[in-house]
Symmetry: C2
Amino acid sequence: MLAALMDGQSLTATELAYRANISRSTASGHLSKLAAARLLIVTRKRRFSYYRIASPLVARMLESIKLVAAIEVPPRHHPRSAHDEALRFARSCYDHLAGHVGVAITDALVAMGHVVLTDDGGELTSSGECFLCTLGADLRSRQRSRRVFCQPCLDWTERRYHLKGLVGAAILRRLLELGWIKRVPGSRALRLTSSGEAGLSEVFHIEFNGKRRSHGEAPPLRNHKH
Amino acid sequence: MLAALMDGQSLTATELAYRANISRSTASGHLSKLAAARLLIVTRKRRFSYYRIASPLVARMLESIKLVAAIEVPPRHHPRSAHDEALRFARSCYDHLAGHVGVAITDALVAMGHVVLTDDGGELTSSGECFLCTLGADLRSRQRSRRVFCQPCLDWTERRYHLKGLVGAAILRRLLELGWIKRVPGSRALRLTSSGEAGLSEVFHIEFNGKRRSHGEAPPLRNHKH
DNA sequence: CGAACGGTTCGGCTTAAGCCGAACTGTCCT
DNA sequence: AGGACAGTTCGGCTTAAGCCGAACCGTTCG
């Protein structure tokens, strides 16, 4: 359930139970514990309870756990589902873009000299600032809290860096606005639209030769026992 | 046990059982599970089994978990033990210096213009490079792997930044070499020696007016039931 | 009003996590 | 050889974690 909330969205208790493949009552118990432990925040609206990750600090913790978990048992090459492939191709990571597409965009920004990445952090060059402005990405912080501006984030499927922070979030937001990528309902996976493929090719000079796994309106993974 | 290993040292199974306040057999079971999960690495020497954190990635994960855990239940103001006070004053954090002293040194480096800290990362200025060289801190990387050079690390007791990365590690190593601080056996706590107090005052212009909690050769916390 | 729906609480079940002491292996030191 | 010691394995115990269905409380809507 925590993994399902990692894209920063709020989800209802029933939806989370559905994803975790457990009963609503069990999910409710876990969710109230997680909320009591301040890992989640619950907001009640009408008759719904919306749960979301409590803070970026918690999100970072979960990400770091997943990163370690991804190293384990490397030889096990269990067959991947279509949904798994879609996740590997493109997904949201808390509030920014990850997976093959996320890494490719990051690589392109670095190659074009718009971003400089070091192990310590990242930096947006002035040409990069101009580039993102032209793209229409809004770099002003939404909240007054000073937040990490630009930072590399190790991608657990690609084992390479993608952009997180304010810059990463701005790019994801803009690509969604442009309709280049769309959220796959009921999943963290993102679908690259045909206009998106053209757009990324034109703006970032990225080509995905037959690598675009997501197809049409694939139903989200739903495997509840009952 | 993982927390006890966070200073990067290797400890024996019996020692870890002692710290965790559990029997050797129970500890052995947990440790072998942790090793199987690649969180720990075990090296057998003679009749001893030395366990240590498997990678900096794991250390970072644990640190991020502790960071989240430190936020929880802020109102609970349970009385602190002497050992707890010592930990808050100065301790090793994986391989660098944390606690009140760690933050103070970081502040001093920033104030003197030797280090520039941003949310994204840190940077050692040329004057800082010269300063550390004069101090005798070895900045060359021990391993061939490229490692984070300089980065702020949120301190869970002080809620402020201290230095981690290659620079942080070099400083801790040098202060130990100089005999300015000593490891408290059986603990992550560090003791500031009188020569260390003088040294920090002279070099970093830091004064600890009666704040030096650690005293003499205080026995480590040992509270096994039996 | 009453059915439908989202969410929670409660009681009860199953299972595994955690723990210990005893026994055993291998090493080290008289 | 024999005792001491570090570590592990095994058997057995206790407890709590995880799960479910049934019942219940509010909200929504026909």
